[in-house]
Symmetry: none
Subunit: 412 residues, 2 copies
């Protein structure tokens, strides 16, 4: 089976946004063994959309459109699809109440009457509910082909893809699964990682291997063709790769670094806290993005000013005066101070220069002093991270949480 992806929107054509929907759709389709053979982007213009839909239906068995389902006059996807199929548009009375209720739930505003266009669908269309927004999508079968239209807002598209489109395709089309799993690593370069694979490749017969560099880290993606009967081969490959990667592998598939840290904390019955300066709350935010984080994360302090480092973390003023706020002694004092005050077992601390200004020859932008205070004592590190402000923060978050993870693995 093959699919065409049509993304509608002037903002994509103009380069204002990256077309992440087309990427995400391609990845999801591939898992069902559906190959995307063409991607097209056109503007919110009824004739252009109709033309693209006609072309797609001529050669693709699955056609999906994203975008152009909003309530404004430049949302033309409903009309474009109707024109391509030679059918009319019909107000769907059965959807009006849901739409009205959705509007009311957003701060008690009554729905502007013009918004009824959102529930005016091509004849023959089955609506696809939108759990996160006002615009429903729709599905139309046309000969042997099926066409889906969903909103362009990525979270809405994703929810409707997973909640409706993929289940429908699995139920109504002879999809042939392609199974993929990933081993996620941190602290090893891509070429070193590929080198380690030398001895492994023979044990991975029938398994495709791909390397995806992250910032930072590398994901190793393993894929087998043929559906569930190949599951055991894939799982064996995952175990072999994990083994070969040792502690540089922090998780598989959707497991995040934060999740790995929480798991290790939970196993020990420990709680963690964060004492941040340059990262400004990003370490805490990354850790608390995981559901259930409150079981193992107790508190965080963002001590951006020197005063806050003294007040909230008990860093001695003299230490800051002598070594500067970005220094090993201050990083250690931040971690130890919060550990003592909070009573948690482990504290991660980071102080550094995120830039773009504030660097000096001795303490350049990207310099970070980090520390982890734990029952066995405190360890500290000096790093220099490349990249601009956002990347320095991101690399500090991941690198320091990986240090915490390794310490949790090793600690007695």
């Amino acid at each position: 089976m093959n699919a065409h992806i049509l993304t509608i929107g002037a903002e994509i054509l103009a380069g204002d946004i990256l077309d992440t929907n087309a990427r995400d759709l391609a990845v999801a389709f591939r898992r069902l063994g559906i190959a995307v053979t063409r991607r097209v982007t056109v503007a919110d213009d009824e004739e252009r959309i109709a033309e693209a839909v006609r072309d797609a239906l001529a050669t693709a068995e699955v056609v999906i459109l994203t975008g152009g389902l909003g309530p404004t006059p430049d949302d033309r996807t409903r009309g474009g699809v109707a024109r391509a199929l030679g059918v009319g548009l019909r107000l769907r009375e059965d959807l009006v109440d849901t739409l009205r209720a959705r509007y009311l739930s957003y701060g008690n505003r009554a729905m502007p009457p013009g918004n009824l266009v959102q529930v005016t669908l091509p004849e023959g269309a089955d609506p696809i509910p939108n759990p996160l927004g006002t615009a429903p999508g729709f599905r139309i079968e046309h000969g042997d082909a099926v066409l889906f239209a969903v909103p362009g807002i990525p979270v809405e598209m994703q929810a409707m893809l997973e909640g409706d489109i993929l289940p429908w395709l699995r139920a109504h089309r002879p999809v042939r699964l392609l199974l993929s799993r990933s081993v996620r690593t941190l602290g090893i370069g891509e070429s070193e990682l590929v080198a380690r694979f030398g001895s492994l490749f023979e044990g991975l017969e029938g398994v495709e291997v791909a390397f995806y560099p992250q910032t930072p880290g590398v994901n190793v993606k393993l894929t087998v063709r043929g559906g569930e009967e190949e599951r055991e081969r894939l799982d064996r490959a995952v175990r072999a790769v994990r083994e070969a990667m040792g502690t540089t592998a922090y998780g598989v598939d959707g497991e995040t670094l934060a999740g790995a840290v929480h798991d290790l904390l939970r196993r020990r019955g420990w709680k963690a806290a964060t004492a941040e300066s340059l990262t400004g709350g990003a370490i805490a935010a990354y850790l608390t993005a995981v559901p259930g984080a409150s079981l193992t994360f107790d508190r965080g302090v963002v001590a951006y000013s020197n005063r806050a480092k003294v007040d909230l973390l008990g860093v001695p003023e003299a230490l800051i005066a002598e070594h500067g706020a970005v220094s090993e002694p201050v990083a250690r004092a931040m971690a130890e101070g919060l550990r003592e005050r909070s009573g948690v077992e482990v504290v991660v601390a980071a102080t550094g220069i995120a830039g773009p200004s504030g660097g000096t020859p001795e303490k350049p932008v990207g310099l970070v002093h980090s520390a982890v205070a734990a029952p066995g004592g405190t360890r500290s590190w000096r790093s220099t991270h490349p990249g601009g402000r956002a990347l320095v923060v991101k690399r500090t978050v991941r690198t320091d949480l990986n240090r915490l993870r390794l310490l949790l693995l090793e600690a007695p």
Copy 2:
């Protein structure tokens, strides 16, 4: 003038990589007043490429292809273009020495003979030198249209775009600059915003208006055609739209909500702090992502546990016992407690249920109590944010910082 962008490559169709080339080309073309009216991606297949080129030349004045110019058998762009134009491929003797020298410069390897395909171009093509790689690009004029082909590696594409393609277009085509600016709004729905435009549209003659929904918020993009002489018309439109949007407009162009908050704090000579529960540091991280944030942001507390709320923010234990941690009194106490302890002028506090678990019928997932403590007193809000954990956090961050912004605008 209009352009079609054709990106060639299985890795784009499969969703392994994002098509940043198409985005970067669109942005560069737009600055010359060349509108991209269609983007197409096909695989490395000679007939598919030829078909896409024929379609593009039928309606576009500028056609650009990226990708498929490498030395391997799956690089089919040269053949696809030749087939579309009905011309042959010819080994360009004049380019062989350069190619050979380039190979030698890469670690002294002799060039594999198969690599001569890289300098085997469609008849009538002018080569475009590649300063960063081995594959030259090419340019062919066809009737009134012009076609460019460049490699898919983004740095090579970008170098050849800037070094050759854009200068050629400026010299040989009547380019007409296009200027754009954006007004960024928060706290007003897209359809309400469009309604407010009713009275404005007549004052915006010659200005194109487009609405881009964010999560949350809407950006209003204004565009004029005609280059620098139209700058005043565009700036006037920006002022008119800002005026009409009132305080819902928080910035223009690259100005962020966090930047707007810092600006308002700086003007008053105030400092801010954050007292977070469900957002887990995300409010502080968002505020400190702005360069220079340390001038106006003093500290943040992530009081995830009840104990931390008592210890670090001075929330009375009895208050939590009586009302629960997610309640208006606790949100107010968090903000007021940190304001008193830190000595800063304003504190934003948020406590809520991010989910996916922890909700009850009275306090569902997505419920957030927020407060801002300021010199004029404390204000509080109750919100229910839709979406999963990440979206609830994101919406809380933006909504609460917008409340802080509005308070900073209004406060005496």
